[in-house]
């Protein structure tokens, strides 16, 4: 199979992206997000999940959660690049919502290819939010690693590093049995389930570890198929996270070049000095390389699936490096004000720091790639 020249990004995808741009421009200016999520600078503040549920229901009415749900499950059946474009715009707005998590859960459920999964996908299409609970305490990104077990169809153990756990209405949990890893859908309000919020750096997300004590669950991938489904969904998950980094990186780039144009020192705007200008150009190169790699990998998922993991790991490697680079240069070139809580930069800086490690940082992706392309090291 080969990829279409336009990355599968056609008229419908462009319309959806443009409507997202308008939505975020109308509703989520950086100062609004800042006043919403950064109203308490106390380093030991209580852990809270701050987000605008009203905006989220508008998004669901606009059909974004249905975009990548297959038509037979009640969705729109758009290609992965559609979700990537929405994630890019959400990243550009540093938007606090379960959008990315719901996309990730969507792709995991799609890979389950079961009636039970299709039913949950139908709920997502009508606006039910979901997230993945698939990471163990050691923070392994490998699909077969989980600290949750299944006994008589009930879940026990703890899932770690669960994104947007306090916002979602469904959890997609990986759990091991003697016959391998399965995937299970759980209602966060279920009996025996406790969500313990993590204190995290990123102000625009919430994260938690979730304790299961004999919790009722719906099996969506049978033992032995769960890790396969997660591995199949992995390229899309890497693309969604990388797309958020691209959007966030672009916001940091534009905001910092704007500042370099107005801030004057030594009688010149900062951008006059090549010590500032050239690294910002390098940030642009990194953003663009990543953006091209992300759309390429997302397109591969639909049209060249045998290449998808390789290309998605390339995208996430590039994205993770760029996440660090774009955010560090933005703080540095804003000077003293960039080091303050009052400047909006830190909201994006922290989102990029969080993004960079999610589902594996750059060196991790390159190690996986080297194993794929060079064979394991002796």
């Amino acid at each position: 199979m080969t990829q279409p020249k336009n990355f599968g990004f056609g008229v419908d995808e462009a319309m959806l992206r443009d409507s997202a741009r308008k939505f975020f421009a109308d509703n989520c200016s950086a100062d609004k997000i800042h006043s919403q999520v950064a109203n308490n600078f106390d380093i030991y503040r209580d852990i809270e999940s701050i987000w605008d549920k009203n905006l989220w229901s508008q998004i669901c009415e606009l059909g974004w959660t249905a975009a990548c749900v297959p038509e037979e499950a009640g969705g729109i059946g758009m290609p992965v690049v559609a979700a990537v474009a929405l994630a890019e715009e959400a990243g550009k707005a540093a938007f606090p919502s379960p959008l990315l998590s719901t996309f990730n859960a969507t792709f995991a459920l799609r890979a389950c290819k079961s009636d039970a999964a299709t039913k949950v996908l139908g709920e997502i299409a009508t606006g039910t939010s979901a997230t993945l609970a698939i990471t163990n305490q050691k923070g392994s990104w490998e699909a077969q690693d989980t600290d949750v077990t299944v006994t008589d169809g009930k879940l026990s153990g703890t899932a770690w590093f669960v994104q947007d756990a306090k916002k979602v209405e469904r959890l997609v949990v990986s759990a091991s049995t003697d016959n391998g890893v399965g995937l299970y859908v759980v209602d966060p309000a279920a009996t025996g389930l406790q969500i313990i919020a993590d204190g995290i750096i990123d102000l625009t997300r919430d994260q938690a570890h979730i304790v299961f004590n004999n919790v009722e669950a719906i099996e969506v991938a049978a033992p032995g198929n769960g890790d396969k489904a997660l591995n199949e969904a992995l390229p899309a998950i890497l693309c969604i996270t990388s797309a958020d980094i691209v959007g966030s990186g672009e916001w940091l780039l534009q905001t910092t070049t704007d500042y370099a144009t107005v801030r004057v020192q030594f009688d010149r705007p900062l951008g006059f000095f090549q010590a500032v200008k050239h690294p910002l150009v390098n940030v642009m190169l990194a953003v663009d390389q990543t953006k091209s790699l992300v759309y390429n990998a997302a397109c591969a998922i639909d049209s060249e699936p045998e290449q998808a993991e390789r290309l998605a790991r390339m995208a996430k490697s590039s994205a993770s490096d760029m996440a660090v680079f774009s955010s560090s240069r933005s703080v540095q070139f804003h000077g003293g004000i960039g080091f303050t809580w009052e400047c909006f930069i830190h909201v994006f800086f922290k989102r990029q720091m969080h993004n960079h490690v999610l589902y594996g940082d750059a060196k991790y992706q390159r190690a996986k790639l080297a194993d794929m392309l060079m064979g394991k090291a002796a």
């Binding site: 780039l253 144009t261 951008g271 006059f272 200008k277 642009m284 392309l373």
Partner: protein
């Protein structure tokens, strides 16, 4: 069906089939002379002759100048040159020797010369019968290109040119030069004009070409001295004083951001350099498997593995950038990606060669004149030569200014 062939127009599909068939039957095969890594390193007249013959045969078959009008020696097709380029790359052909002619002089002449001059010069340029060179850089005008001192003075119906050009690749073989020079001292930018001038036929009659030796030990570029060279007025491109504007057409094409696709061939590897895969990050894997480090192969070394993957990712990103240029909806600024081309391509090439050098370990001390050198010493040569392209066509520091100012709208650094 190949990726590239997927959305050809009927005209393109027919042309692609023609290219494929012609290349199957007419690939020139391995040469009997040594061909250097690129046209800018050409110094052996026999190698030049062999490559000129290849260019002529490709031109006669329509693989060069496909998008140029029939009157100017082309085929008058639409968006077909890129197809010929893809097929020539796929067939791993030799490169074309008239690289400056095809990439810079041809589009500039095409867009700015009077019709009779186009018809006079372009057919022989495209066929490679005439080799072209570029007279832009001067001792005092490198990155500051507009600081031209070479002067053209109008005398009756002709121009008399005096001055000194440097780093002039291929001037020792060139029949013609594209020349940027000064026609007025009153205005830095609006005092510039642009000419095409004969070189070989005027040596000793106002033109002197002296070779300059590169740091690699190769020749290939020169200084060119003009002493009262007389040039007809018809060889002036565009208006007097419009030289900077015309030069921008040249530079846009040189940097891969022009309106016309440059005819370009390549991919052939000399027999004894096979396996080197110069310029391709993928070939670093094989090189690492054949190189030793710390008791294992370099391919088992974690740091080397990470570095190779990093470059393969950059290479894929560069490729996908070129693909994304064609998707309007994924470009918020039309020049943002095209203007990155030269900068990204040349630094990537340099970094790939530098990593190859590192992977080779002790063997990297051996040069092309040592039979034990890994890959014929070609990576070492490629690394040293890579500075030619990070400096030429506006040093990459200037490229960063251009990107920062024109795309990111930051204040000018001058």
């Amino acid at each position: 069906m190949s990726d590239a062939a997927k959305k050809d127009t009927p005209e393109q599909a027919e042309f692609r089939a023609h290219c494929q068939q012609w290349l199957t039957e007419n690939h020139p095969g391995q040469p009997n002379v040594h061909i250097p890594q690129g046209a800018l390193e050409l110094s052996d007249p026999d190698a030049l002759q062999w490559l000129k013959q290849w260019q002529k045969s490709a031109y006669d078959a329509g693989l060069i100048g496909a998008d140029y009008s029939k009157e100017t020696g082309g085929r008058g097709l639409k968006d077909c040159q890129a197809i010929a380029n893809q097929e020539m790359q796929r067939a791993k052909t030799p490169f074309f020797p008239n690289i400056i002619g095809l990439g810079m002089a041809a589009p500039t002449v095409y867009f700015h010369a009077q019709e009779s001059v186009k018809q006079e010069l372009l057919p022989k340029l495209l066929s490679g019968e005439h080799i072209w060179c570029q007279g832009f850089s001067e001792p005092g005008a490198g990155s500051d290109l507009a600081n031209q001192q070479t002067f053209a003075e109008k005398k009756g119906d002709t121009w008399v040119i005096n001055g000194h050009k440097v780093w002039t690749s291929l001037a020792h073989f060139a029949d013609w030069m594209i020349l940027l020079c000064r026609t007025s001292k009153d205005d830095k930018y609006n005092g510039l004009s642009y000419f095409v001038v004969p070189i070989q036929s005027m040596i000793g009659k106002g033109v002197t070409v002296n070779p300059l030796i590169k740091l690699t030990g190769e020749t290939g570029f020169n200084e060119v001295i003009f002493e009262d060279l007389v040039v007809e007025d018809k060889y002036r491109l565009d208006e007097v004083g419009a030289g900077w504007k015309v030069a921008m057409t040249t530079l846009a094409h040189e940097r891969g951001a022009g309106l016309l696709t440059t005819p370009s061939a390549g991919g052939m590897v000399m027999e004894k350099e096979k396996g080197a895969g110069i310029g391709n990050a993928m070939s670093l894997i094989d090189l690492a498997k054949q190189s030793y480090r710390n008791g294992k192969t370099a391919a088992d070394d974690g740091a080397i593995r990470d570095s190779i993957m990093e470059l393969m990712i950059r290479q894929e990103g560069f490729r996908q950038n070129q693909r994304r240029i064609g998707v309007k909806e994924l470009n918020d600024h039309p020049m943002r990606l095209p203007l990155q081309f030269k900068l990204v391509a040349t630094e990537m090439g340099q970094d790939i060669a530098q990593l190859a050098y590192e992977i080779e370990g002790a063997s990297s001390s051996l040069y092309v004149n040592d039979e034990n050198a890994a890959a014929g010493g070609q990576w070492q040569l490629a690394y040293m030569n890579s500075f030619g392209v990070t400096i030429a066509a506006g040093a990459n520091e200037v490229q960063r200014n251009i990107l920062g100012e024109r795309v990111l709208n930051m204040p000018k650094s001058k």
